[in-house]
């Protein structure tokens, strides 16, 4: 063993002199380390609750096929949670959107939703409760019936939950019956749809009106999670590529977000609180005196809301996704797109969102080192002409009090400059294409939960050389003024290829999260869409659950973050990780964090560029 030690010492000296890229020895001696860092068990507990394609959902009679148990659809997106503690220990109903759109004899063509009831059992575990619904279906998971209630649904992405009511958003704009028919693999029924001919109800103002079948998609749709039936399509909120929305505390005002490029921001104000069938629809136009364009309650207009709105000069966003309310303000993900230009077609009539102007100016400053010299109008022109490669996206803030919108946190870090304070954290703190958003309260502190859905791996959105995307769920402490990327805390990363989405807090212990459309070649069950729970947010009081005490050594210090399963280093450096036998298993360069998520519990060594080695134990 002596010889080994000697040799590795020589190696290190040679490098130190030459200011070299450190060649970490393939093996190291392991008997001379004194410092030990403990990576405690995560205070958080992970539990798979609902697996697409594997769990059985109970269906109603559909298309002449008898109801019964069939495998659930995949692609879990939005999660709505509705408290219901009628039975002791029960937490409430969970409704999961299925963005997958396929033909299915039993659950119905198009997308869909699955509803189930959760309760808590010993050890803070969650259990899906067996139920019998009013329509007689018995089981654990229930397919929400759209076919027999409101006509089919499809592309169910985001949604709205308020006061125990749930709406699903039918994103992904459809434009013809042949497209939705998809050669017989999509929607089988392409006959006209007459509003009001299905049970339970149509829509007061529009009953008897006829829509082309594809036009009966792309609305917000109310569903009843407890009966597993759709209630009505919200025809008066307009048809667009709606991705999400929020209802304010007045129970009258609804804001809606369109995933389009250009995408619009909509608002509906109900005449009576809680009755969303009567009221006034608006579309955002930030440069108008009143800020909002009133939209007439006319089905022909509402069916083509995006086109109508842009023609009337609405504010154009670059793909709005989900939104959520905190402190009276609305935070919305503007996910970005690898390339876009608004210098042709109807987009010429719209106006560029101030959030994109902010994004452009922030990027300009990073690249050029100086503030953008022109006016906001000039910046907007650059955006319009496609000079803004908006591949990161951002979270925007909309203030209902002032009707003003701004960029709240830009994706990134954009790597044009080496001096950014965010760069050392790359890639562990690296926000690309924010998509899902909600808020989490832990011990009185509010965190924004931001969920990524990467549009691609290019331009360093994944560490270079890697094409598989890994999407992450970040937390952002809302008490931080002017947050940047380095303020993000990584809470969870989902399976490769999957989009992490749906995060919703159900009580002081638990959030539910979805991992949707993962690579089908991931190791099971991560090859299927998944709803999982992260519990334990009510744990230890002494430390924030996100931080543990640091252990100092001579050259560097290490502290574990058990929640994020990361070791944090005191500075940016090259490190290697060795197994208990001294075999090198990982080399990380130019990093400040070491992800231990995939490391089995046991003893490891972390070695710095200077050759200093610290033992760490993953519990």
């Amino acid at each position: 063993m002596k010889k080994l030690l000697l040799l590795s010492t020589i190696g290190v000296c040679a490098f130190a002199q030459a200011d070299a890229q450190i060649p970490f020895p393939v093996h190291i001696a392991t008997d001379w380390t004194t410092q030990t860092v403990l990576m405690p068990k995560s205070p958080l507990m992970y539990q798979n609750i609902f697996i697409g394609g594997l769990d059985t959902v109970q269906t109603t009679n559909t298309y002449g096929f008898a109801g019964g148990g069939v495998p659930a659809k995949q692609w879990h997106d939005y999660i709505a949670f509705v408290k219901d503690s009628a039975a002791v220990g029960d937490l409430g109903w969970v409704v999961v959107n299925h963005e997958m759109t396929t033909k299915n004899d039993y659950v119905g063509d198009g997308g869909g939703m699955t509803t189930f009831k959760l309760k808590r059992t010993a050890g803070d575990k969650l259990e899906v409760v067996k139920q019998t619904l009013p329509d007689g279906r018995t089981g654990k998971f229930f397919n929400v019936d759209f076919v027999n209630t409101v006509g089919e649904t499809g592309m169910n992405c985001g949604g709205i939950t308020k006061n125990g009511r749930v709406w699903t958003a039918e994103e992904w704009m459809q434009s013809s019956n042949s497209a939705i028919y998809a050669g017989g693999t999509g929607f089988r029924d392409t006959t006209d749809f007459v509003i009001g001919t299905t049970t339970p109800a149509g829509f007061p103002a529009f009953n008897g009106k006829t829509l082309k079948r594809y036009q009966n998609l792309n609305w917000l749709v109310e569903v009843n999670p407890k009966t597993a039936k759709a209630v009505r399509k919200q025809y008066n909120w307009g048809r667009a590529g709606w991705e999400g929305g929020v209802i304010m505390d007045d129970n009258k005002t609804v804001y809606m977000f369109e995933d389009g490029s250009p995408g619009i921001l909509g608002k509906f104000v109900a005449s009576t609180p809680g009755d969303f069938t009567v009221g006034q629809m608006y579309v955002y136009k930030h440069d108008a005196l009143t800020k909002w364009l009133a939209i007439e309650n006319n089905l022909d207009t509402l069916v083509n809301l995006n086109t109508v709105a842009i023609r009337r000069g609405a504010t154009m966003f670059n793909r709005l996704e989900w939104g959520a309310v905190s402190g009276g303000k609305i935070y919305i993900c503007e996910t970005g797109r690898d390339a876009f230009a608004y210098n042709s077609g109807i987009a010429l009539k719209g106006v560029i969102s101030p959030s994109l102007v902010d994004g452009y100016k922030i990027r300009y400053k990073i690249v050029n080192g100086v503030d953008f010299p022109g006016t906001d109008a000039a910046a907007a022109d650059s955006v319009r002409n496609g000079r803004f490669f908006d591949y990161y996206g951002r979270v925007i803030e909309f203030d209902p009090a002032t009707d003003a919108v701004r960029s709240y946190i830009e994706g990134g870090p954009y790597t044009a400059t080496a001096t950014s304070k965010d760069l050392p954290y790359y890639p562990s703190k690296h926000l690309s294409n924010p998509d899902g958003i909600d808020f989490l309260t832990v011990k009185g502190k509010t965190y924004m939960m931001i969920e990524e859905d990467l549009n691609g791996s290019s331009y360093n959105r994944m560490p270079n050389g890697f094409t598989q995307t890994v999407c992450e769920l970040y937390l952002l402490d809302m008490s931080i003024a002017n947050p940047t990327i380095s303020d993000l805390q990584r809470l969870s990363a989902c399976a490769p290829g999957a989009e992490i989405t749906g995060a919703v807090q159900i009580d002081n212990k638990t959030i539910l999260v979805n991992s949707q459309h993962p690579n089908s070649s991931n190791i099971a069950p991560y090859n299927n869409s998944l709803t999982y729970a992260i519990s334990g947010f009510d744990g230890s009081d002494k430390l924030s659950i996100f931080e543990q005490a640091e252990v100092k050594t001579n050259a560097f210090s290490v502290y574990p973050n058990p929640a994020a399963r990361e070791l944090h280093l005191s500075k940016v450096m090259d490190v290697a990780i060795y197994s208990v036998t001294g075999a090198r298993i990982k080399v990380l360069r130019n990093t400040q964090t070491v992800d231990v998520t995939d490391m089995a519990s046991g003893t490891y060594f972390i070695r710095s560029a200077e050759g200093e080695t610290v033992k760490f134990i993953v519990e």
Binding site: A18, P23, A179, D338, T415, N464, S521
Partner: protein, 639 residues
């Protein structure tokens, strides 16, 4: 412990030598980072100049010459540039000149052909349409101006792995003419690529020589030799690609790996768990281990045991899976025909006509990102359910199959033996049935044909006709630009993480007096998210391996012989024989292949036959105590 010691000594002495050699100079990876930045600046500058020539309507000759300067600059940058950001290169810089769907966006957003390959076609057409070419150059220019701002760290690991990845790309995509559809400049491009690799690897020469001088001699002499050879053999049609592969590509590929391992520089496996199927820890591009088949299936490795493969084989041959207990997977996938069935289209359930398409071989089918002729299934495991519920195939449901299997004690024991021992009696599930069949089907791998053995140096001689055929396949006949080496299927090298489909214009029946396009729209109607005009009539590119056993050919089984298939391609596909196929992705020009050349290509394709050890059937099927009538069922089914 000895091995460790040796490695350490090697590593240490190499780096001592290196630092002693250049104590005050920059490290290799710093020099290469700077070089790569300068290569990108040069590439960007050349593109700006091309843009300016187009804007000023210069003559076609000038523009073409400038485009060749652009290509040279790109090829110098390519090996590291593409390794560091492969998706960007594919999407914006040097992807196939086709309409594509923008990834991960709302709805179907179509992107037009862009980048260098689109320009190659536009600028080397009979005349240049500036209105079409200028936007393509402008977009490329914008992309590069953005790229220049993004920092990509380069380490020693990256240099070595990028060089080896490039050797696969250069052989399969470069020398085949894949990325120069009109200018045909592929051999000159390859020279530039190899020069760029050589320039960077020279920085390591002293260090490598100090580790092992004979190995270093092989590496640097073959690198030099490859450049010299290609400079002397610039004719695209006559280049001996098999010679280039055996003499240069494979030895360079092997020797860089030798030094990567011996120097102790970290490998990509120590950097990320999320790797593509490409496995760089092999010494030959035709090694069976080059592509990691476990990356294509969701089956956990610890479950993938010989017992599970055997259970999967039993299920595969068991007709109890079908509604009438008479059909098994083997009914359409017969081992003696490399798991195809010899029919134009397979017989449907209850002999009611046929299924919609020809049964493809299952050997090597695991090496796919998507499944079925129309690419509608994303995994082998998903594919099985499609067969189960198809009215023309098994006409049953997953739950019906499960309840049947669960009623057999023997099946219960077989599943318990493969899965959760603590869950005895409850292991027959939807997922476990899929896992078992996927384990068996993915075990049907073959990379050990006479041709493979010759390339790897395991056999010494090869029929000269096969050699000529391979060179034609990879060159003049352009087969290798879609059936990519070494799998010879549509799984795109060098990462092997994407399956391709093509519009060939295959006729419904080529043997009739009036020939018409097959009505099957393929990928264009397979699923909602592929509903675009350019996917209409598009079908998955199948493997050529074992083609001698898998006739009749094409998605509809319309061609009886390989000679007829070759004749179809030689005429330029559907459009070439006068059909109206506006979105055909195959060139409609004649390949100008002579009958003897066609014979050579067929001989080469037939040298890719290998089904050794893959054809065994189970000797019996599990019994059902409550259904004695089922116990008489035939292994493999009645039809």
């Amino acid at each position: 412990m000895k091995k460790i010691f040796v490695l350490l000594v090697l590593a240490t002495s190499f780096f001592i030598a290196n630092s002693a050699f250049s104590p005050s100079e920059k490290q290799n990876f710093t020099i290469i980072t700077e070089r790569q930045e300068s290569r990108l600046r040069e590439f960007t500058t050349q593109v700006s100049q091309l843009k300016s020539l187009l804007e000023h309507n210069n003559g076609q000759k000038d523009i073409q010459l400038q485009f060749l300067k652009v290509r040279t600059a790109f090829k110098r940058w390519e090996y590291l540039g593409e390794f560091l950001d492969p998706v960007l290169v594919k999407d914006k810089i040097n992807g196939a000149p086709l309409f594509r769907l923008e990834r991960n966006t709302f709805g179907l957003n179509i992107t037009r052909p862009n980048g260098l390959q689109a320009l190659d076609e536009l600028l080397f057409a009979d005349s240049i349409n500036t209105n079409e070419a200028l936007p393509v150059v402008s977009e490329l220019s914008d992309v590069l101006n953005e790229l220049i701002k993004v920092r990509y760290p380069i380490y020693d690991r990256i240099v070595l792995e990028a060089a080896r990845t490039e050797l696969i790309r250069l052989f399969s995509l470069g020398l085949t003419g894949f990325d120069v559809p009109a200018s045909g400049r592929s051999v000159a491009d390859a020279v530039v690529v190899l020069q760029s690799i050589q320039e960077d690897l020279k920085l390591y020469q002293v260090g490598f020589a100090s580790i092992n001088s004979p190995h270093a001699d092989v590496l640097y002499s073959r690198l030099f030799g490859s450049i010299q050879y290609l400079q002397g053999h610039q004719n695209f049609d006559s280049l001996n690609r098999l010679y280039v592969l055996k003499e240069f590509i494979n030895p360079i590929f092997k020797e860089i790996n030798y030094f990567h391992q011996a120097s102790g520089i970290e490998t990509i496996n120590e950097v990320s768990a999320f790797l593509p199927p490409l496995n760089l820890n092999v010494d030959n591009i035709f090694s069976p281990a080059l592509i990691d088949d476990s990356k294509y299936i969701g089956l956990p490795k610890k479950l993938n045991t010989p017992q599970l493969v055997s259970l999967g084989r039993t299920l595969f041959f068991d007709p109890v899976l079908s509604s009438n207990n008479q059909r098994s997977c083997a009914g359409c996938h017969d081992p003696s025909k490399a798991f195809s069935d010899g029919n134009i289209k397979s017989i449907a359930m209850n002999y009611e006509g046929t299924v919609d398409r020809n049964a493809p071989t299952l050997i090597n089918c695991v090496y796919s990102e998507k499944f079925f002729h129309d690419l509608r299934a994303e995994a082998l495991e998903d594919q099985i359910e499609h067969v189960v519920v198809s009215r023309k195939e098994f006409n049953t449901s997953v739950f019906e199959i499960l309840s049947k299997l669960q009623s057999s004690k023997e099946y219960q024991d077989l599943f318990d033996n493969c899965f959760d021992k603590d869950n005895k009696g409850n292991n027959i599930s939807n997922q476990n049935v899929s896992f078992a069949i996927a384990a068996y089907v993915s075990s049907l791998k073959s990379m050990n044909s006479p041709f493979d053995r010759y390339v790897r140096g395991e056999s010494k001689s090869l029929d000269p006709s096969v050699e000529r055929g391979f060179n034609l396949f990879m060159g003049k006949a352009a087969c290798g630009t879609c059936h990519y080496a070494p799998l010879f299927n549509g799984t795109v090298p060098p990462r092997f993480e994407e399956s391709e489909s093509e519009v060939l214009g295959v006729p419904e029946n080529p043997y009739t007096a009036i020939v018409s396009l097959d009505k099957d729209l393929g990928r264009g109607v397979a699923k909602l998210k592929d509903q675009t005009s350019f996917y209409m009539n598009s079908f998955k590119t199948p493997t050529i391996r074992n083609i001698a056993l898998t006739g009749p050919y094409m998605h509809n089984g319309s061609y009886r012989t390989l000679e007829d298939v070759m004749d179809f391609y030689n005429h330029g596909g559907g459009r070439g024989i006068g059909l109206d196929v506006p979105t055909q992705t195959l060139s409609s020009d004649s390949l100008h292949l002579s009958p003897s050349e066609i014979k050579d290509i067929i001989n080469f394709m037939q040298s890719l036959t290998d089904t050794t050890g893959l054809c065994s059937k189970p000797s019996s099927l599990p019994r059902f105590a409550q259904h004695p009538e089922w116990n008489k069922r035939k292994i493999g089914g009645a039809y």
